[in-house]
Symmetry: C2
Subunit: 335 residues, 2 copies
């Protein structure tokens, strides 16, 4: 029924040690005779023995497991990152345990603690909140951590993110080039670094343009509802901004809905640009111009950094910013 080294050992009269060596491909190294190898392999295959990774991990102090901590596995942005990391890990012989911090720092601490007690070999996280302490402590004393997308200011933790500042700067410049001077920016979680950087990029582009301008920054969450409510308010302003910059896909959806509900049209009545790539943006009417982040590369680089840290047992701090690109739709009017 449940096969172990010992059960096989008793059955074929070869010690567990020898079987272990053969199963792990160390037969040559330990000069085990071909006869023995054949006998063992025959039985191992016959009874479909699979070693207990639990026991192995306990002994070797290596679980071949990484922890992935995300704000929401259902968010398309994070689920793409997750898939790319899960696949990379699989290819390296690692499995991934995914936990959801639910945008809650207490849950997040609990998740980290679970990962530690599971002895993961490394952690990739898109943290919530702005307290790096638990992450830094774990990274320093226990397990390497790489942050992805979200990160902390002035921290020793490695991270991979996109160039949020530049992306927002370029998006805003694009609006300015199209004659927009009165622009509203609807932001997400105000604590998160990507959000801060995007807002800074937005403001800097307007300021540096030299043109006279009016900037509006509103909102406080990466959610459809936030996008909807803030847009409702923005559309009622007098004078009304000529363009809205939504700092995430979810916010954008709220923007679109509010514009539609107000009987207005994009881009005739108001221009729109968004952060985040999503395939459906090409299918909207009009297609939405957006700042596209290289999501898959972010995942791949994060796992690359993490595995390098695991395999060399180092803690070199790497802060990577990947370039964003503007994907043009038809949601911006030239005025």
């Amino acid at each position: 029924m449940k096969e172990t080294l010992t059960s096989i050992s008793e059955r074929i009269g070869v010690s567990p040690a020898t079987i272990s060596r053969i199963v792990n491909g160390k037969a040559d190294k330990y000069r085990i005779s071909k006869e023995t190898v054949d006998k063992v392999m025959a039985e191992v295959n016959r009874c479909k023995y699979t070693p207990s990774l639990l026991a192995r991990s306990l002994r070797t102090n290596k679980t071949s497991t990484i922890g992935l901590l995300l704000p929401s596995a259902a968010n398309p942005f994070f689920s793409h990152i997750a898939e790319s990391i899960i696949k990379d890990a699989y290819a390296k012989g690692y499995i991934t345990i995914t936990l959801d911090n639910m945008e809650n720092e207490a849950v997040q601490r609990a998740c980290l603690s679970i990962m530690i007690s599971r002895k993961v070999d490394g952690i990739i996280a898109a943290p919530c909140g702005n307290d790096p302490t638990p992450f830094e402590e774990i990274n320093r004393t226990t397990t390497p951590i790489v942050l992805v997308d979200r990160y902390f200011e002035e921290s020793t933790l490695s991270h991979v993110t996109s160039n949020n500042y530049k992306g927002a700067f370029e998006a805003t410049s694009f609006l300015i080039q199209n004659g927009h001077r009165h622009i509203a920016c609807i932001q997400g979680d105000t604590q998160s670094m990507p959000n801060k950087r995007r807002v800074n990029g937005f403001l800097a582009a307007l300021k540096e343009s030299g043109e006279e301008h009016k900037a509006v920054v509103a909102g406080d969450a990466f959610s459809v509802q936030n996008g909807y409510l803030e847009t409702k308010l923005i559309l009622n302003m007098n004078p009304r901004p000529t363009a809205i910059f939504a700092l995430s896909y979810t916010i954008l959806l709220g923007v679109i809905k509010a514009v539609q509900d107000s009987g207005l049209h994009i881009p005739d009545d108001i221009s729109v640009i968004s952060f985040d790539e999503n395939i459906s943006l090409d299918y909207m009417t009009p297609p939405i111009t957006r700042v596209s982040q290289p999501v898959e590369e972010m995942g791949k680089l994060a796992s690359k950094l993490l595995f390098s840290s695991i395999e060399n047992n180092t803690r070199k701090t790497n802060k990577l910013e990947l370039v964003t690109t503007i994907k043009a739709g038809q949601s911006i009017r030239h005025i």
Copy 2:
């Protein structure tokens, strides 16, 4: 540095056994004195001891881990299921290891084998291919398995799916009610049960309507590309079908793109209805009418079945079909 029961034991002079009992809240049951409990708890908190789940699992033969096997973690349909399962598992004190079968049966077998060697307590899978054997064997001998969305015909495995037949039947009836008689259905993976049932529902609705009709069934994959190519062919038919039924969100995206590229319009030139819920469908022009599946409930029920199987150590076969609902958009013309 690395705290264990033994290290604490040596430091405070209380046996590992007693510490273990206290940490696990069994102090009362074993009548351990308040003094000892206090002393132990003080030290446990001071040095932030967390038990090794590896060692515990090895001893107790329970990992508090479930395996989640999906065709693609990035697919919004599956990522929603994943999130709902991950959260449920977390609430029950379980963690989830997610693996991606990449729609490949060899990879799928490898994933199952990994889960077994990791001694997961249960598995939730949306399998690819149509060979139930590995799943049935594992479910019978080793670890309970519940299938979600995808399942096998005539199998003893439990599954949770939506009422694909009825959903497709209703969608088709809806088209018929709107005067459509010549309808094309673009299917996904032809082996998968949900796809088969949807196609059957589609054909049955047309047949049972009693009207004279013309049915077209095309396609072979749940992908944007498949939707695009088949739509291109369909649009060139003479006479051209008046409606297209896309059997998934991804297929739908391909349909829309092909219609747009052909300079045609939904619903004036061709009506469209789709399977799968996705928030972006409400944001398209026109909003797309679709058969909405209760994704979150599917995840919740699957984990409910699995946990009941784990906790009672039973293998009762449950085959659940959840109702779908038609969410009306404006993508169907009345003719």
